[in-house]
Symmetry: C2
Subunit: 375 residues, 2 copies
């Protein structure tokens, strides 16, 4: 296999900015060469949050599609210049875009990501593969999670069972059996990760902080059992996989519900309990729905992997059944995993290889994902 | 050149339904084999109109993207079964999608079309090329009009100068010099065609009629000079090309303005004057902005070409300078031209050929348009 360079671009449901990963594909496998995070300017973040609500306006969506596309393109240019790689050496860019709506089930299954790939292509001169989710939706799937196939590429092991746990706005896990093949890979969304925590922090700090850095605020509190029990009774947790979710379920509305019921708690206790909710719901569902024979290596990535309250919660929930390790320890910076996935998915698309796993998304068949833009 | 079959799918700013064209590309040129119009169900039409307003909701846009994609796919399947061509013989589908917003100028130039290509691909098994406008926007163009390059393919002539006039929701003209080459092609949007007429008819008939079939209602009236003069003073008509426009300029708001000012007119006089506005604005701008040496053959297509009041108006405005002929007389059914264009653009994209004309759209350079979806 000839060596190829690709860039993955991801902007998650936290609406905080763009992760870019510069990735080398070669016979030695998939290597992360550089990672870069470009925060959304405050006004843009507010616009994205506004557009993502059910009442988001068409006018704003049309404009943001171009604005976000330009910012994605700019980020791709910057990661190259930072690593002193000429952008002309980049074979392709994989772009997730920004999710505006995601309705994985029901009679109007649909998903909407924006971030115009033609803008990325115009700024970079690269072939762009974008918008991976709608193809899975079109063949009966939920359009998510898409991470497992790439988690398999990056983290599968012949010597131990592994869970790869991505803690973005939403939390998803992938199960990689010891010595398993692609056909053995399973995974699903487990519920909220940073989405609820970020909303709570913004509320408690009057918008001064947008997230709980390192979990410092949460660590001042203690888990409230009554609230945790209430959270863990959420019906999504009982749904059998395949399943996926989004801010429609674990966003502002759910926060408001929790806050109305538990505002008597101190703010640190509230936050610590939300962190515990992410941890216990993920570990609980893993052992309930997946055929895991402990011990398992529990690999964490995403912004939530920096939140010590969440990480302690996961280790606590796991107990003797497994040990937590950051993806960074395995060679892929924990903030970069999602962006690397986008490069891996784009590479598959350009080779004509499917990118979804029917067992994971519920799709009727495996299909090539995404749209190819080449100006 | 090996023979290839393609399908073009178009749904215009009139929001009335989908035109499909089955097209053969061979060394004999581009031939229309079949045309089919699938009206939008009434509820879908209402949803499209609602989503297209500046306050169109993200939730609805997300759902409609899938619904419209499915209907586009179904239409492609139907045109094949009608013509008894196996869909497996179709090399590609070109899909315009449904325009939701179009902002060709200003600091937030952007355009938004929906109609998920992955849904079309899933239903047909075909390679789909979609969403042609954003690439032109990304290189500084207005994303419209895109018709001229295809008008050139279909209608250029060594023996006479030709205008190709598409009367969709919006009106656009292409100028084909006698014996001219692709580099000589020019064209622009001239203003409203059916958009204003349809809004007026819906209002005057309390929604019983959605358009003025054959121009019958308009033909009962006479042109009101004062209103026509007012219409012809619209600033868009004085803008130099390249230029494009949409329902943001010539939709409900402009109708309301006209109606407030001229509601004293009888309804037929009002309609006849709107028809004359389309005719006189198009011919007037053609001779003002294009280097036409009369006589010119004025080829009309689109739904408005069925409106006798509009057609008489064009011939009247042209006078001795030219003669009007339907595209149907030249081998391409006048209702099918826009759909044929989509097949032509898709074919260019798959060959890696540019689809925009910088002189026409204002783009800095010619680029390959669209996104390729192949499940």
């Amino acid at each position: 296999m000839a060596e190829k360079l690709g860039i993955g671009l991801m902007s998650g449901t936290s609406c905080d900015g763009i992760d870019a990963a510069l990735v080398r594909f070669s016979k030695n496998g998939t290597e992360l060469l550089a990672h870069r995070f470009t925060p959304f300017p405050k006004k843009l973040m507010e616009e994205v949050v506004s557009a993502s609500g059910p009442d988001g306006r068409s006018e704003l969506i049309c404009e943001l599609n171009v604005k976000i596309g330009k910012l994605f393109g700019k980020t791709a240019v910057e990661i190259c210049s930072k690593r002193r790689v000429s952008i002309s050496k980049i074979s392709f860019i994989g772009s997730h875009g920004q999710t505006i709506r995601h309705h994985p089930t029901g009679k109007n299954r649909s998903t909407l990501q924006i971030g115009e790939p033609a803008e990325i292509a115009a700024l970079t001169g690269c072939t762009v593969v974008s918008d991976f989710r709608p193809a899975d939706i079109a063949v009966g799937g939920q359009g998510a999670p898409l991470a497992p196939i790439a988690h398999y590429d990056l983290f599968s092991s012949g010597s131990e069972a592994r869970i790869v746990h991505n803690l973005g706005g939403i939390s998803n896990i992938t199960f990689l059996k010891k010595g398993g093949k692609l056909k053995d890979v399973t995974g699903f969304d487990t519920g909220p990760a940073n989405s609820l925590l970020d909303i709570a922090v913004r509320k408690f700090t009057d918008g001064v902080k947008s997230y709980d850095k390192g979990g410092k605020l949460s660590l001042k509190g203690e888990v409230n059992k009554s609230m945790l029990t209430y959270c863990l009774s959420h019906p999504f947790l009982n749904k059998k996989p395949p399943k996926s979710t989004g801010l429609e379920v674990f966003g502002v509305d759910y926060f408001d519900e929790l806050y109305a019921k538990f505002k008597r708690l101190s703010e640190p206790d509230f936050l610590r309990t939300v962190a515990a909710f992410t941890a216990f719901s993920s570990v609980g569902q893993a052992f309930r729905f997946l055929d895991i024979v402990p011990p398992v290596r529990w690999i964490i990535s995403g912004g939530g992997a920096y939140n010590t309250a969440v990480v302690l919660g996961i280790q606590n929930a796991l107990g003797e059944r497994g040990s937590v390790v950051s993806s960074s320890k395995l060679g892929i910076d924990k903030k970069a995993v999602e962006a690397v996935l986008m490069a891996i998915l784009a590479n598959r698309t350009l080779k004509g290889e499917p990118g979804n796993i029917p067992l994971v998304t519920g799709a009727k068949r495996a299909v090539v994902l995404g749209k190819i833009t080449r100006l």
